[in-house]
Each structure stands twice: as structure tokens, then as C-alpha cells.
């Protein structure tokens, strides 16, 4: 009976009892990431709507921001993703020293990114950018900027908290390799979201 049931499942979608072939923790993390991605997708679509429906000229990004500075922020985030990947790899190999070292490097990268973002926000606020107005053109520009980068920055911050807890627990041997991997998934997701914001908001 059991076999017949398994065979039916297999025939329909090849998934059997474990359709994703992953532990429940990892499956839940992925489901969370998909829903969180949809939050950003909604925000980016709203930004697209505001920009396309704006009767006023959309400000030229290179006149508002230093694109070189944004590129530096991108570089920091991509690098922190690579160090995170290395930490996950080391955790899988059971190398706790390398795991801790690269986790702390990742935290350093994330903190540097947040610092850059705080600097950028301070700068544009001084120049007169507000949620409802700005000196460069369409008033929706400020709202799009603050909401998109604000939500992303909050994710970076919560990622930092998770990484800090993971790093400390990993040093004392309380976090298994999978714990580091799940924290890594979230961190890479934050990097992934930045790829979209960087292209759609700063470059296009």
C-alpha cells in the first residue's frame, strides 16, 4: 500500500515524500525568501508605476547620487556575499576557525555597507530630498528612494543581527553547519535584492 502510494506520487511530479529534497528548515527558509522577494517585487513594481505615471521629468540618477559611491557599495555587498559563501563552505567541512573568520568578515562588509547607506541618506537629506519632494524633479523620486533603499537597509541590518548570533554560536560550537547555511541563504538574498535595486533604480 505504502509502495503504491509512493509510486503514484512519483508518477505525478517525481517529488515523492520530499519534493524539494531539502530539510524542513531549508524548505521553510526558501519559502520565506520567496515571500520576502515578493515584497521587494511589489515595491519595485510600485516604483515602476510611479516612474511611468509621473508627468514630471524623472531626475537623472547620476546628478543626484555619486554612481562611483553606489558602485563601491555594490562591491562591498558582493564581496560580503563571497565571504559568506566561504563561511558556509567551511562550516560544511567542519572547519570552525575558517567559518568564524569569514563570518566576521561578512559582518564587517555588511556594517560597511550600512555605514555607506547612512552617509548617502544624510547627504541627500541635506540636499533637500524628502519623501514627498526633492529639488531635482518628480516628487515621487524621493519616496521611491527612501522606501526601496530603506527596506533593503533594514534587511541588511536584520541580516547582520542574524550573522552576529550565528557567528557567536558557531564559535562556541552551538550552531550546526546547516545553521550557517540558512543564515547564508538570507545574506545572499539581501545581495540578490540589491542587484535589482542597483540596476532598476540607480542605473536605468
Amino acid at each position: 500500500m505504502q509502495d503504491a502510494h509512493a509510486a503514484t506520487m512519483e508518477a505525478h511530479w517525481g517529488g515523492g515524500a520530499a519534493p524539494f529534497g531539502a530539510s524542513w528548515q531549508k524548505t521553510m527558509m526558501w519559502i520565506f525568501i520567496v515571500t520576502d522577494a515578493l515584497l521587494f517585487s511589489g515595491l519595485l513594481c510600485a516604483y515602476g508605476f510611479l516612474r511611468m505615471a509621473s508627468p514630471m521629468v524623472w531626475p537623472k540618477q547620476s546628478e543626484v547620487f555619486s554612481i562611483a559611491f553606489i558602485a563601491l557599495m555594490t562591491f562591498i555587498l558582493i564581496t560580503s556575499s563571497a565571504t559568506m559563501g566561504t563561511a558556509v563552505g567551511a562550516a560544511k567541512l567542519g572547519d570552525r576557525k575558517t567559518t568564524a573568520r569569514f563570518l566576521f568578515l561578512t559582518i564587517l562588509g555588511g556594517a560597511a555597507f550600512l555605514g555607506c547607506q547612512a552617509y548617502e541618506w544624510t547627504h541627500v537629506i541635506h540636499e533637500g530630498m524628502r519623501l514627498s519632494s526633492n529639488p531635482w524633479g518628480a516628487p515621487q523620486f524621493g519616496a521611491a528612494f527612501f522606501v526601496l533603499t530603506g527596506f533593503h537597509g533594514t534587511h541588511v541590518f536584520s541580516g547582520l543581527v542574524i550573522l552576529l548570533i550565528t557567528a557567536i554560536r558557531s564559535v562556541v560550537g552551538k550552531t550546526p553547519a546547516q545553521g550557517v547555511e540558512l543564515a547564508g541563504l538570507y545574506w545572499h538574498f539581501v545581495d540578490l535584492v540589491w542587484v535589482f535595486i542597483f540596476t532598476l533604480f540607480y542605473l536605468l
Binding site: 531539502a22 517585487s41 511611468m52 542587484v195 540596476t199
Partner: protein, 100 residues
């Protein structure tokens, strides 16, 4: 044996290098005064390449069961596309009403 001797972290740093090169190419394309439509297609295409590399190599979707990768990719992209395709014509009709 050869697998064990190879640097296990190589994939992350190779991906890092490729991501940096793509980012630089995107920044340079901005400076080149290309036709707008070409720039948009170029940037969107490379944005997707970067996203695929992060998902595949950093988040290990390449090594997971296909079902998981399909669920993640389809779940995000199809929903986003539907959302955008419904929202885009709305923005044009708003513009039309403003100009009328």
C-alpha cells in the same frame, strides 16, 4: 581525490570575480551614450545573469533538487511579471488622464 585537493571555496571567488566584471560592464555601458532601448535591454539582461549566478552558485540552487529551483524561480518571476504587466497599462492611463 582530485576533488578533495581542489580549493573548495573556488566557486565563490570565481563567481565574485564574474559578478564584479558584469557590474563594471554595466557601469561602463551607462557612460557610452548607447541608444536608450539598447541600454535597457543590456542592463536588464545582465541583471538577470547576476541574479542567476547569485541564486545558482552562492545560494546553491544549482546543486539542489530541480523542484526547489523551479519553485523559487517561477514563484518569484511569474508573480512579479503578472504584477508588472497589470500595473504598467495603469500607469499609461494615469498619464493620459493627467495630460487630458
Amino acid at each position: 581525490m582530485a576533488e578533495a585537493r581542489r580549493n573548495p571555496y573556488r566557486i565563490y571567488w570565481v563567481t565574485w570575480g564574474i559578478l564584479l566584471v558584469i557590474t563594471l560592464a554595466m557601469l561602463m555601458a551607462e557612460e557610452l551614450h548607447l541608444p536608450r532601448w539598447f541600454l535597457v535591454v543590456f542592463l536588464l539582461a545582465f541583471m538577470m545573469v547576476k541574479a542567476t549566478m547569485i541564486g545558482g552558485n552562492f545560494m546553491h540552487l544549482r546543486y539542489e533538487k530541480r523542484n526547489l529551483a523551479v519553485m523559487v524561480f517561477a514563484g518569484i518571476m511569474v508573480t512579479s511579471l503578472i504584477l508588472f504587466l497589470y500595473i504598467a497599462p495603469e500607469s499609461w492611463s494615469v498619464l493620459e488622464k493627467i495630460h487630458r
